[in-house]
Symmetry: C3
Subunit: 143 residues, 3 copies
Amino acid sequence: MSPWYDLMAEYGMALDEDRLEDWVELFAEDCDYRVVTRENVEQELPNVLIWCDNKNMLRDRVESYRQVNLYNPHYDRHVIGPLRKLGENAFEASYSLFQTDLEGVSRLFSVGRYRVEVTGKQIKTMLVIADTGAIPSLLATPI
Amino acid sequence: MSPWYDLMAEYGMALDEDRLEDWVELFAEDCDYRVVTRENVEQELPNVLIWCDNKNMLRDRVESYRQVNLYNPHYDRHVIGPLRKLGENAFEASYSLFQTDLEGVSRLFSVGRYRVEVTGKQIKTMLVIADTGAIPSLLATPI
Amino acid sequence: MSPWYDLMAEYGMALDEDRLEDWVELFAEDCDYRVVTRENVEQELPNVLIWCDNKNMLRDRVESYRQVNLYNPHYDRHVIGPLRKLGENAFEASYSLFQTDLEGVSRLFSVGRYRVEVTGKQIKTMLVIADTGAIPSLLATPI
């Protein structure tokens, strides 16, 4: 398979299996990770739900998440669609993200789009544009 | 990646980003685009929800949609699964289609299957077989 | 495309089109097919929802299903994400599974993960780890 498909398979699976440290390792040192809503993009508003503009910020975020959460109160499940090439080093993909609570009840949590720029085998920029209006308190984990 | 995956990535993304004119360009001039329900297929009923039997009909449909809708009252999001080859020029794929309203609330809108025949890099026939019983008034946009 | 993607496309589509006998043919004779919940895996509980430890058991299961169900009371729809390679002969993938009742209403039924080991072009082991707490009575059909 294409390395980009491999990358996105690992991206989703690392988050879903709570391997957040592995997820961080997918990024380059000078990366930019951002989660915004589609409404904000289309109305050109500056709101950003998550913004880490280098890998150390991602490391910090995961570390603080580990300290706050003694256990994961829900399971994530990403199902990512086919990749649309945007250039030599860039592509986008649609995602659906489901969450399952500790009772085993699953629901749709977020749908949207990844815009990804790679450098070598790593992610240089990851812009997550969520169609779903995000609920901040639930955004402790990345999308 | 395979050209068919590229095609379906663009197919879904063009619809989701409201680039309906780009979506039309994926089809050959003598194309056939049809949306039916699975129930109708299995009971061999003749009902068709959308039927355009050449590219000009697709163009007309998109044009009239642009005139009626001053803005898009919802966002679409297609997540398409792996492709099953049916022959040298044909394949099928499962899809999930989510809609997000202007309040940012997302819901499952339709699931089903694409049956696609290609000619060169373009779509010759696209048969959308929706498991979900479609609600006609919401079918202004293609699936 | 990669043979693994072809395999998973056929896996999902065979189930969704009620071609259960074709689905059985994807497995090797000495296969192992198992459906468990994620909760059970993480708590190291021995509960298993479905377990067939060779192909004849799969054949028996499908045969008894055919005798009990005169018609299929719902439609399944699998949407499977990109594959994560785990070794020369193994991979995993996330899935979303939707069900549509005879009224044409679709809903999310299960999300989770496939862990697959192949032998040649066939499935040697298929472990389905469902995030969603499964409802046994609805588990007449495989996931």
